[in-house]
Amino acid sequence: MHITPDNTIFWEHGFFKLNATIVWTWVLMIVLVVISRLVTRKLRTDDHPGRWQVGLEIIVLGIQDQLKEIGLKHPRTYIGFIGSLFLFVAFAALCTIFPFYEPPTSSLSTTAALAFCVFLAVPYFAISQRGWLNYIKTYLEPTPVMLPFNIISELSRTLAMAIRLFGNMMSGSMILGILLAITPLFFPVIMSLLGLLTGIVQAYIISILATVFIAAALNSGDDEQPKNIQHG
């Protein structure tokens, strides 16, 4: 039994190793890109948009509504990043119904890369919206004494995000492997159903956390409160 799909190596040449994580990541990306490309090739605005276009619209508008509810005022700016994060993680989890497939998110390398993207995206969006000075000033709030703690929290939440996704996805396949050895017939089916549920919940959580971090970096220091806090 192995702990990550990194150890399944298909092809090796010197320094380069083609392991299951890379292969499945590329397969997922190609499938997602090809499907989106085929659907968006002939978009229609009349009364008969076609099933695939309606499905895609439901997904995009659903994500956009979620982003707006959390407090991002212009969700179209962020939907490219957060939406693809959600779709990739959710699709990686959903594909576990296929045999011989291992979710690339059950490798620490993939989740660390995703968390690192979020780590970079937060200052990118904050600086592009509010400017360098305002962004750096948020590290000195509420007092300059908090500077090291703000930096530590920035780093630790990135680490936590990577390990949370890795742990959840890895535990799913690991529990399945252990159960197959103990009670082979019926129980693993229930656990794989539970694994699908946790996969979707984790995709939701990682995108919500990314949204919350970005919204916090955009809104902190503003005098006006976000709307949902005032009425909540």
Binding site: H2, I163, R164, G167, S171, I208, L209, G232
Partner: protein, 89 residues
């Protein structure tokens, strides 16, 4: 008892203890937060979407503590650096 046996013995028992003891706190915390969320949902059904979203994010934060313990257990059992060191030497 030689070194390899000692490492195996301690790793396996500590792996069990890590997940076992480390899940107590998150379990209590998740129970408390879900109970409170249920209560608030019953009192304010209008705020359901906000409460559910905050609950999910909070549960993920709490659950990550248990996941850290689980990851450490898995490392101790399947990818133990000390074990590999003693096997190699």
């Amino acid at each position: 008892m030689d070194n390899t046996t000692l490492v195996a013995l301690i790793s396996i028992s500590v792996a069990g203890l890590t997940t076992g003891l480390g899940c107590i706190g998150p379990a209590l915390a998740e129970g408390r937060s879900v109970a409170n969320a249920m209560q608030s949902l019953a009192q304010q059904p209008d705020a359901a979407s906000t409460i559910t979203r905050t609950l999910f994010v909070g549960l993920a934060m709490i659950e990550s503590i248990a996941i850290y313990c689980f990851v450490i257990s898995m490392i101790l059992i399947f990818a133990n650096p000390f074990w590999n060191h003693f096997i190699a030497s």
